[in-house]
């Protein structure tokens, strides 16, 4: 049991994203097909939380429910009310970027859908693009970019317009090591500076261990929260990584 000082939740007070006993079942010809069952997760203001689970267990589905893209069949979801409420880096890059807009146009898309989001944008835009190595690509179209650059542009959008909640579905799977570190640092910065609550799906256990304050493990279908692993902020990175890896092997291996 962690004491108050060591408990990672203690430094993140306000819950801005929560799912309470969320379930999702589909009706198929053979009968009801349960995808999620009584899943409860929460993410606090300024906190980065990981989500791990076996392939096809419903991690993306849970993110879509949290973003309001799918209505759960049971349970409730709480998300922020002030725009931009939820940012989402989709797993499939073609759903993130509009092929007829330039890199800059794609990043600035939230400003086009909400006139209230224009304050300080030019300054943030240039800072984020430079930081992610997109500075020379502003006028390029998506088809002129690599898969990794697609992911960087998708991520850059939400760094320029920090949302209350950011959901990242394997958002850096095609990035090289240096770019991943840049993205991780940028996520830490927006969590700290703007208070964004960030929920990250990744299969890279070691990266998650370095980035997140807690991790939820989902079981295989119907997915439930098999375990929640909070990290002691004082724990060295190597130990976190080892601990997360051991738990992942136990839980994913057993499910």
């Amino acid at each position: 049991m962690l004491d108050q000082e060591d408990n990672p939740r203690a430094s993140f007070s306000e819950v801005v994203l929560s799912a309470e006993r969320v379930s999702l079942s589909l009706r198929v010809p053979s009968g009801p097909f349960s995808i999620l069952k009584d899943v409860s997760v929460d993410v606090r203001r300024g906190e980065i939380v990981g989500l791990l689970g076996p392939n096809g267990c419903g991690k993306t589905t849970l993110l879509r429910i949290l973003a309001g893209l799918i209505e759960p069949t049971a349970g409730s979801v709480k998300i922020p009310t002030i725009p931009p409420r939820v940012g989402f880096v989709f797993q499939h890059t073609e759903r993130n970027l509009l092929p007829w807009l330039t890199v800059e146009g794609n990043i600035l898309l939230p400003g086009r859908t909400s006139v209230s989001l224009t304050d300080g944008v030019p300054k943030r835009l240039h800072r984020v693009m430079d930081r992610l190595g997109l500075g020379g690509l502003a006028a390029r179209l998506p088809h002129q970019l690599s898969g990794g650059q697609h992911q960087l542009v998708s991520m850059a959008r939400w760094l320029v317009f920090p949302p209350g909640v950011l959901l990242v579905d394997e958002g850096w799977s095609m990035l090289d090591l240096l770019q991943r570190q840049r993205v991780h640092q940028s996520l830490r910065d927006i969590a700290r500076q703007s208070g964004a609550a960030i929920l990250v799906v990744s299969h890279n256990v070691h990266e998650l261990a370095h980035l997140v304050a807690r991790t939820y493990f989902l079981s295989s279908r119907p997915a439930t929260v098999a375990a929640e692993l909070p990290f002691d902020p004082k724990m060295p990175s190597a130990e976190r990584s080892e601990l997360l890896w051991q738990r992942a092997k136990e839980i994913i291996g057993n499910s």
């Binding site: 893209l69 940012g87 509009l98």
Partner: protein
Amino acid sequence: MLSWEFVVRAGLLPEVAVPRPMAVIARGVALLGSSTFWTNWAITLRTWFLAMAVGLLVGLLLGFLAGAIRIFALAVTPTLGYFRAIPPIALFPVALIVFGPGAVPIGIIASITATLTVFPVTAQAAGEAAARYEDLGTVLNCSRLTFLRLFVIPGAMFQTVAASRVAATASFIVTVAGEMLIGGRIGVGASILDASERYVLEEAYWYIALSGVLGLLIDLGFSRVAGIGSRRIEVLVSDPEVAPALK
């Protein structure tokens, strides 16, 4: 042209059916000084242009609505699919009875042709764009109109312009055919028929050759529009109030 000239001069095709190209050009040059020639073209082009413009407008509107609103698609797609299976020329007798001869029934049938050509492609492309970007639009909290303007219309634009190109040519063909069948004595189609009946085949071929040239120009024009559109599409979809603030 040389092959044509050679084939006719060599007697491979009877000159009574296929005049020599030099004879066609000579007759055509003579016609350039005739006001009737220009009047015929003016009437045909006016009928075609108005029919195409109205037909495309209706087809694009119905197509985008069908792509964006599923219930609307379910309501109109079967009906339009039914009419698309009917050759437009088969509707001329009906139009003749209802409206009488002249440009009005021809324009209506040509317009329907443009609508039926552009609608299914637009509806399909708009539906695919709406499905692809629905999640992003929802996350960005877009209104239905903003989603249509920023995501669906530009997402379907390339296929739509391609379909419009086909529709423009198809409506021109129907316009000329309509002038032959129910157009009375004026217009390019009527002139082709008239010249053929008078056995002035050089004149008929001159009109036919120019129709082909005009069809090619229409096609090239739409190709140019598609090229310009692809470069300017970002400007078209940008919000004039927000874009300057972002620069």
